[in-house]
Symmetry: C2
Subunit: 293 residues, 2 copies
Amino acid sequence: MRVAFLGLGIMGRPMAAKLAQAGHEVTVWSRSAGKHVEGARTAVSPAEAARGAEVVWMCVSDTAAVERLLFSVDGVESVLEPGMIVADSSTIAPSATRKFAERVRARGADYVDAPITGSKVGAESGQLIFIVGGEEATIARLEPLFSAMGKKTLHMGPTGHGQSAKLGGNLMISMIFEGFAEALTLTSKLGVPRERFMELVNASMIRSGVSDYKAPFVLRHDFSPNFPLRLMHKDIHLMLEAAREARVKLPGLETVEEIYEVATEEGNADLDYASTLALLEKWAGIDSHSTTS
Amino acid sequence: MRVAFLGLGIMGRPMAAKLAQAGHEVTVWSRSAGKHVEGARTAVSPAEAARGAEVVWMCVSDTAAVERLLFSVDGVESVLEPGMIVADSSTIAPSATRKFAERVRARGADYVDAPITGSKVGAESGQLIFIVGGEEATIARLEPLFSAMGKKTLHMGPTGHGQSAKLGGNLMISMIFEGFAEALTLTSKLGVPRERFMELVNASMIRSGVSDYKAPFVLRHDFSPNFPLRLMHKDIHLMLEAAREARVKLPGLETVEEIYEVATEEGNADLDYASTLALLEKWAGIDSHSTTS
């Protein structure tokens, strides 16, 4: 298929590369100049990339960035044609997603929200999971692209439901990690060696993909960013915004947000979100060097 | 071995039965009269049960109940002899555990904290996990009893560390479930069907033994008690008490405690702790009947 891929960040770049490798005719555009993808043409604006494409795929950092891609002067809207599909793998607000979809559909094109889970490793290995909202028939047309980039496509319902489910998933990640961090802080301060406590985690129902993935980093206090705190913080803001709009009270998440607020003030925004553990340890007076294994 | 088993609740009774089935010489005692275990003798007081036993095993509901078993007029202390071992599978305060152990050791006996995980089903099938604190040599002597009741014994360190690690594990359970409940409430209110959201949970890193175990009940709004809210609430109080003593700040858990407080006021104490979901749904104005699958 003829695909415009907009956004070549940590996730977007390997995704565009997978599409090119699968034989699709890919044109890429990125806000930061000088980024290229092997086997893909490079355009100078979102509009130029999207002109004549069957599918425009976006993967950028936030709601405002998607809005610019679509509706700024050089944006995709100006070249939309009936039958085109706009797909968005960014994680953005469900309500904004529905508004964007409406404007895109007014031009006779269709819109699918398709945020992803699976991290950088999943993007590089083509093993992403797509969490999708939109029309069944439109999603079916995208199947060759989904299967080139991912291992699974989960259809959550109409437009916006992909984003809603993605936010629910990241809400769970942030709460699971906070529980892990608070338990590690408490048990460490009470004298239980972390490696021993991990034996309990790994032997019982509290084990999860989150603890599996984070434990090795956390145990050696390596907070280099796999999922930067500022991006999880952005997602938490999206969850709380969606909750306010829907009149839902999320007390646990509100508390976690406050922790991310302080962690940001402490200069941890570009570290991994797991560095919230270091904040809890600081509050508990734990010397993090002595707990490094 | 000659074992006194004190406390025949949901967990204690099948544990005592497993010891008797394995050929140990078991004497039981329970606060509520009329409880018996096949193959075991029934005593009229903790002291009578413990007299002449090699091991006294306790499994009761809280710190005060353990204190009564040991130190009340008819308590175990009066019959302690050098070489006896007191083992406690209740979940109680780590600091109280250390004090109890000190008094027991003053009589020449030894003390092991051995709280359990694995639920009623684990107790009935002899598949419990013991989370143990105490002397290596003493724990080794208990091995025939551990293996009759459980599948795994995790040694966390000296006396009290079993309780500390158990509290850390239950802290994680309460936070994992709160995240699950908040995500379900948000995504439901945003219109995503629960069964669809569960596809995402089960396909990604947010899946855990907690979501595996609770999802079937939660999806049909069955809050009959597997782990009653009042017991999880008691454990949360133990965690916060231990945190205060150790000068540890646990913001996420403090918020979860407030939710349990309200759930208790609403009359949910004897339902499963998963009924905190119903509270979030009520706050969100979700009609729980319409979300029942």
